[in-house]
């Protein structure tokens, strides 16, 4: 069981390092609290966004925390992909440039899995292959409209 964990940990760690570098333009890696006996301790994320010196996770900014958390999720995905990923406004803390980076990475990862992403941010909408529009008129029910980025709108 330790061996299986070790293998998983090493792969996810490697994934995390390269994904973090791409999303946060910095260095990050996973660290076991007890490397001799992993099950005796927990798992820490060490993050240096933009090459900043190491600091406790809690003191990172909202945007930095989001990118670090998402790097971890993508690192897990590359190791054991789920068939679909559903993200609800995971870009809410990100500045425009970081929304673009995240959108590019999702576009890349979406070759291996389905991504359904709720977002209000333009760079995210523009990177998707298609958009589903949702509205609710006063006193009415939710309506759904499928919009393809070719500009072709289909109502359902």
């Amino acid at each position: 069981r330790q061996k299986a964990f070790r293998e998983a940990f090493d792969v996810v760690n490697q994934n995390f390092q390269s994904i973090f570098a791409e999303l946060s333009d910095g260095d990050g890696y996973l660290q076991l609290e007890d490397s001799q006996d992993p099950f005796n301790g927990g798992l820490n994320l060490v993050a240096h966004p933009k090459g900043k010196p190491v600091r406790r996770l809690a003191s990172m900014s909202g945007g930095e925390k989001s990118l670090t958390a998402l790097s971890f999720i993508f690192a897990l995905q590359r190791y054991r992909p789920s068939p679909f990923y559903a993200f609800d406004e995971v870009d809410m803390f990100l500045d425009g440039a970081n929304v673009e980076r995240l959108a590019k990475m999702i576009r890349q990862q979406s070759q291996q899995a389905q991504f359904i992403v709720v977002s209000l941010r333009r760079p995210m909408i523009e990177s998707a292959e298609r958009t589903i529009g949702v509205t609710q008129a006063r006193g009415a029910y939710t309506q759904v409209i499928g919009i393809k980025l070719t500009g072709h709108t289909a109502s359902l």
């Binding site: 964990f5 293998e7 998983a8 996810v12 609290e33 099950f39 301790g41 927990g42 798992l43 994320l45 996770l57 990172m60 909202g62 925390k65 989001s66 670090t68 958390a69 971890f72 999720i73 897990l76 995905q77 190791y79 054991r80 992909p81 789920s82 068939p83 679909f84 990923y85 559903a86 993200f87 609800d88 406004e89 995971v90 809410m92 803390f93 999702i106 389905q114 991504f115 359904i116 709720v118 977002s119 209000l120 995210m124 909408i125 998707a128 292959e129 298609r130 958009t131 589903i132 529009g133 949702v134 509205t135 609710q136 009415a140 029910y141 939710t142 309506q143 759904v144 499928g146 359902l156």
Partner: protein, 221 residues
């Protein structure tokens, strides 16, 4: 594989029956505040049994039934969600995985043990050659080459007094939540999976306890 359709009936802000057609790859859902975007994700969680009522922002399951249904004073109201998975690639993928020389299992006549199947996710896999050995409900799941679509449905009935029942179905046959979760596991969909991130939760991985974080890797290993 991918989800190709979610159908919502009387679920939260969706009155009547609404189809949300989806495709593989990268889809964005957008629209004004309060329009129902997050409710679509709640519908996924509801149908696949991946979260409790609080995880869908409801105090109890009956809160999930569209308000108009409930206020019409009918004796019993019902809400349901169906999720249709497109399996055409997955089948071929599962078939290939189970055979060391790349020949699909139902064409080679070997038993799973002979093929050296060790992945426990495949141990329930039925195939045309084994149908007799496996329980009827399984034989309908993931039949080699025969099933391109897999539909999961969940119905919630609420009586006027407020008591309720919830029933799951796979391809129209009722089943237990445990059955459903077993099948979903074979597709790598887990209740504690990190593939669904709800609104406001993205930094949760940062604030969670280190041991909890390590367990995420345990479960995948």
């Amino acid at each position: 594989m991918y989800i190709k359709r979610v159908e919502l009936t009387h679920f939260k802000s969706f009155g009547g029956t609404t189809q949300v057609p989806l495709m593989g790859g990268f889809t964005v859902i957008s629209g004004p505040n309060g329009s129902g975007k997050s409710n679509i994700l709640d519908a996924l969680l509801f149908c696949l049994g991946l979260a409790g009522s609080k995880g869908m922002r409801a105090e109890r399951l009956p809160d999930l039934v569209n308000q108009n249904q409930t206020s019409r004073g009918r004796a019993t109201v019902e809400a349901s969600v169906s999720v249709t998975f497109d399996l055409s690639d997955e089948l071929e993928q599962l078939a290939l995985d189970s055979s060391p020389n790349g020949v699909p299992p139902h064409e080679s006549g070997f038993t799973d043990e002979q093929r050296g199947l060790t992945d426990e996710r495949l141990e329930n896999q039925s195939s045309a050659t084994h149908r007799n050995e496996i329980t009827p409900s399984h034989s309908k799941q993931f039949d080699g080459g025969l099933m391109k679509e897999w539909i999961v449905t969940r119905k919630l009935r609420v009586t006027q007094q407020g008591s309720y029942t919830s029933t799951y179905f796979m391809n129209g046959e009722s089943c237990t939540l445990t059955d459903l979760h077993q099948q979903l596991e074979r597709l790598r969909i887990y209740p504690e999976g990190y593939n669904v991130v709800l609104q406001g939760d993205v930094t949760g991985i940062i604030s969670m306890h280190p041991r909890e974080r390590r367990q995420i890797i345990d479960e995948l290993a």
